[in-house]
Subunit: 468 residues, 3 copies
Amino acid sequence: QELCDRQKNTNVRLSLPAVCIVWQTAMIILFGVFIRYNEESSPRWVEYRKAKNISSDIENDFYFRYPSFQDVHVMIFVGFGFLMTFLKRYSFGAVGFNFLIAAFGLQWALLMQGWFHSLDYSDGKIKIGIENLINADFCVAGCLIAYGAVLGKVSPVQLMVLTLFGITLFAVEEYIILDLIHAKDAGGSMVIHTFGGYYGLSISWMLYRPNLDQSSRLQGSVYHSDVFAMIGTLFLWMFWPSFNSAITDHGDGQHRAAINTYLALAATVLTTVAVSSLFQKHGKLDMVHIQNSTLAGGVAVGTAAEFMLMPYGSLIVGFCCGIVSTLGYIYLTPFMEKYMKIQDTCGIHNLHAMPGVIGGIVGAITAAAASESVYGHEGLINTFDFEGEFKDMVPTRQGGHQAAGLCVAICFGVGGGIIVGCILRLPIWGDAADDNCFDDEAYWEVPDDEETFPQVPQYNNHMRNKDV
Amino acid sequence: QELCDRQKNTNVRLSLPAVCIVWQTAMIILFGVFIRYNEESSPRWVEYRKAKNISSDIENDFYFRYPSFQDVHVMIFVGFGFLMTFLKRYSFGAVGFNFLIAAFGLQWALLMQGWFHSLDYSDGKIKIGIENLINADFCVAGCLIAYGAVLGKVSPVQLMVLTLFGITLFAVEEYIILDLIHAKDAGGSMVIHTFGGYYGLSISWMLYRPNLDQSSRLQGSVYHSDVFAMIGTLFLWMFWPSFNSAITDHGDGQHRAAINTYLALAATVLTTVAVSSLFQKHGKLDMVHIQNSTLAGGVAVGTAAEFMLMPYGSLIVGFCCGIVSTLGYIYLTPFMEKYMKIQDTCGIHNLHAMPGVIGGIVGAITAAAASESVYGHEGLINTFDFEGEFKDMVPTRQGGHQAAGLCVAICFGVGGGIIVGCILRLPIWGDAADDNCFDDEAYWEVPDDEETFPQVPQYNNHMRNKDV
Amino acid sequence: QELCDRQKNTNVRLSLPAVCIVWQTAMIILFGVFIRYNEESSPRWVEYRKAKNISSDIENDFYFRYPSFQDVHVMIFVGFGFLMTFLKRYSFGAVGFNFLIAAFGLQWALLMQGWFHSLDYSDGKIKIGIENLINADFCVAGCLIAYGAVLGKVSPVQLMVLTLFGITLFAVEEYIILDLIHAKDAGGSMVIHTFGGYYGLSISWMLYRPNLDQSSRLQGSVYHSDVFAMIGTLFLWMFWPSFNSAITDHGDGQHRAAINTYLALAATVLTTVAVSSLFQKHGKLDMVHIQNSTLAGGVAVGTAAEFMLMPYGSLIVGFCCGIVSTLGYIYLTPFMEKYMKIQDTCGIHNLHAMPGVIGGIVGAITAAAASESVYGHEGLINTFDFEGEFKDMVPTRQGGHQAAGLCVAICFGVGGGIIVGCILRLPIWGDAADDNCFDDEAYWEVPDDEETFPQVPQYNNHMRNKDV
């Protein structure tokens, strides 16, 4: 009976393979034309080392960043993927489509970010190393955040389109914020979370489904799916210090970013638990909050993690974000769905968009308050890159630039989302009907679970000490 | 009907938020007063590096310890959290409360351990870096071990109290053992596992519930919950080499500790399997043993991992611990519950307390047997820190100090547990009634799983090849 | 009724403990005689450092390789273990026996590989450090691959025998390929995947069960077991860059191997999705392909990852492997079962054997095409170890040696598998009857799941908004 109600055709048998094969072929060609190893990942490293008088292989950037890279990689694929498995019948789509679009997105990101940041003008090639891989993963994160808003409501082909444009917008927005405006955003509160959050919310707004309650039977979780989602939550939470420190300066920059993130996240857990308990009847905790709001502190220290936010400053940021994010789940998400026509499956507004904006503001304030007495003369220059064309920059002005960066991120997110949302409304993408959302049956061969259950009556014969 | 039998009120709607908000606020204030970055995590690192003639940023302690730190972090949150998800209906509580108390505990640990170990007397501030984060995670581990003994029987508020006092006791005990007694315990066999184990067991003894069999329907596992628990087991097992090497000496110290732990754990797996099979009817393996006893070897080489335990020595320790721990689960846990009124949900006596004591003894013997012929002159001094006021120390005497340290850990565990257990018996904490233990319903909004199951009869119509 | 049909006795109550205890005791004795710390993991490191004029502890090999080691360790225990949990009722066996044989195998591998590669002829001892641990994990991987072919059809005692001989064969084969033939194979396309794949397939061929369809009710997955398997898939996928770079040269070697593997795996995901969708009715994706074929690219760049494969070359390899592997699952696995009497539970032919052979060929071609213009003079020598007795080697000849290495791997796999398969056919090992395969009941105490299910009718009373 499930099948006969469908008005829409979710068969992606031609479109999905076509998109995957064609785009992957395009990647091979573009990589062939543009992408090469940089001096630290090519065999000429031996000569480079000698020329630069580098005393040991351990000073190859690989060893500064590879552990963080792997942690970020886990966040992208296991963290984001499993965080979205909470729905009772959309775990395949959550973890599987997350896998697909991340694997495509990182290739396109290497190209897009490479053209802006790693182009060697001497030969017109993009030279890549470990830092490019981290940045590609970061870039992908923006699109995965957006996926959270539309989880269960779009087809894999739509997700590929969302990712293609998302990566492109990201790279441009990032170039404007980091290079032109000279804002700092190592942990990506603005460029990743604010952009990704509003990008996804705008798309979700454009794809509003008034009759989504037709699939309400599938919108909740079951016991085990909530436990699976905690795998995602915890790997995101644990490795967030690596996320925020992965591309900060060698030495104290990475060290401090990790400490600040560690502390902010710890504080968030406590206020999330407090608010979750306080606003539920009987004081019972809600897994939605524990799975999501506990991460808000990591988002919100993204920009300032490498600054002198101070340990107590990190705790304060985490404290506030746990409260704001949990209240967002309780009040704002239902409000947005009812009155603003924004259906936000994973509540990314509470986990990424709002904390991202908070992070941008915290970054601006912290930057504006910087001084040589706190950072030291060289420390101030190093931390904020007051070098080259920005050697006359001062902290207060840097604070203004940070704020400008935040505005750019919001504009790109909202504007880009509306445009891409329009494209995704075309009736060619194979998305599911309203009563068929949040159901892996649409795009996956789902195993029948019956073989296990019929044994229940049989088991009952052997039951001892049964008190039901 | 489940609700009407309750004599106790598990509503923590006021107490839990109050504890979380007040204590987190206290943390912010104390961090504001006391905690600052150390010279390796502050922007003054550039100047410090030059002053100390350090040639590269890669010599920042961050790069020596960050990969191990992240592994330890995974052990604390995923390892301990998922290890306890084995109960059929307490997975939310296992992983969620583990998350809560670890997030609180690490903040309090940074303060408590900081006052003892990282206080800069020139300005009265605690200066923190990556090693402090690792030690905070270690400190938390003691409380999470204790949680294992009382899993399913206490309220989150009780767990917060358990953690507050546990961290405090830990810091004092650790200071006495490591600084005053000058015992070495890099992997924490004594300070973490012995202390944490007896702390939890004493609390469980104080909180003895004679009618706990009223919730016996919930005390077992189901198939999937056992698989979830294996996630915890494996992440603990795999990352234990990082746990034991995280704060050992740079260079050979970390290297050797990792090797010894790797080997001890491997041997433990084989003897655990052997004993589990041998003592069950039909030779069938028991998941309880595989989930827990396989880890005992890692506990027991904690103290000696950085010493010259030798590869075969590590195997011997692991060999013995697999046997002892599995036999503990088979014989000792039921005995303790029946005759000693100690209800040990996760069997921490077998996984932490006994192996911890074995580890302390192995450490004492290995230290007493140390000699310059094996360690080299400098190696002996470096390994045992025979410097400063201990420059006249000799290995045999060090062995005695190790044994003294073990006694202190046991005393603090038992004594502290009894006192804290008394406090937790007060009728104000919102713990569950006997027939309501091991049930997430008490403190969590649990999703109804009915949506999935009613489809079973419907599926049956499509069943082919069915032989039931 | 399940019990009464059995013709075979799966009771391993004597044999399994005996094998575990005796072999573990043998390990202790052999470790006592042979295994010692090397100069970087012994306390004499301080003196060694000074003698070698090494400026910092950070240049201890531990810091170059430990993060990769831990990633490899996760792949071995969580990756391989959880990848095999896809069967509805063999998750305990998948993750538990994987754990057992890996823990035994790594000890035996340290000895076997040590005799060939790390024997200090001055005192007849094997000197171990972090690289030995990585190689031991690699060696174990070969046996775990073989386990995939016989998953659910063999007893744990058979698996121990499979591992004992598998490790032995591996060490000999590896010595011939790497040392005698001087082929390069850092990521083990040949020595690990090709060998392990054909070893397992040959054993499965020898153990052919014509009536295996008697347990067909247990050969599929259920919804949650597919999600568990994705944990294995993702940890293998994410950490494969560490696998392929773990033992490559310091500096650019590790850096490049990680980049190439990262890219190859990304491309594989897209073509796997494309082929999976294209060849299924309605274009629905099959979890078997997503779980397995997405990894083929990592296998196939194993040999060439450290060479100048170029980023686009990595993408091409990944592109092809995704297609080949997925088509293998669709057409080749059923063909092999029907016509070649090879029952390959996990499809290791598609995931390891074929991609391994492709990897060997890609390695041979890439090596043969190497030139000083691309690698630089020193880079070429470093990358291919054209030193010592091989200082007159040239790239084209190296290509031939690579091809020879591939042949050796196939021969050892097929030949070794047939011999070991013969041994495993002896009627003494406690394997299950045909109608009892793929069932954890045979070797595990499996919890009754009934306690949860009887509550369903009770829950129904509270059900609201139910539309079934």
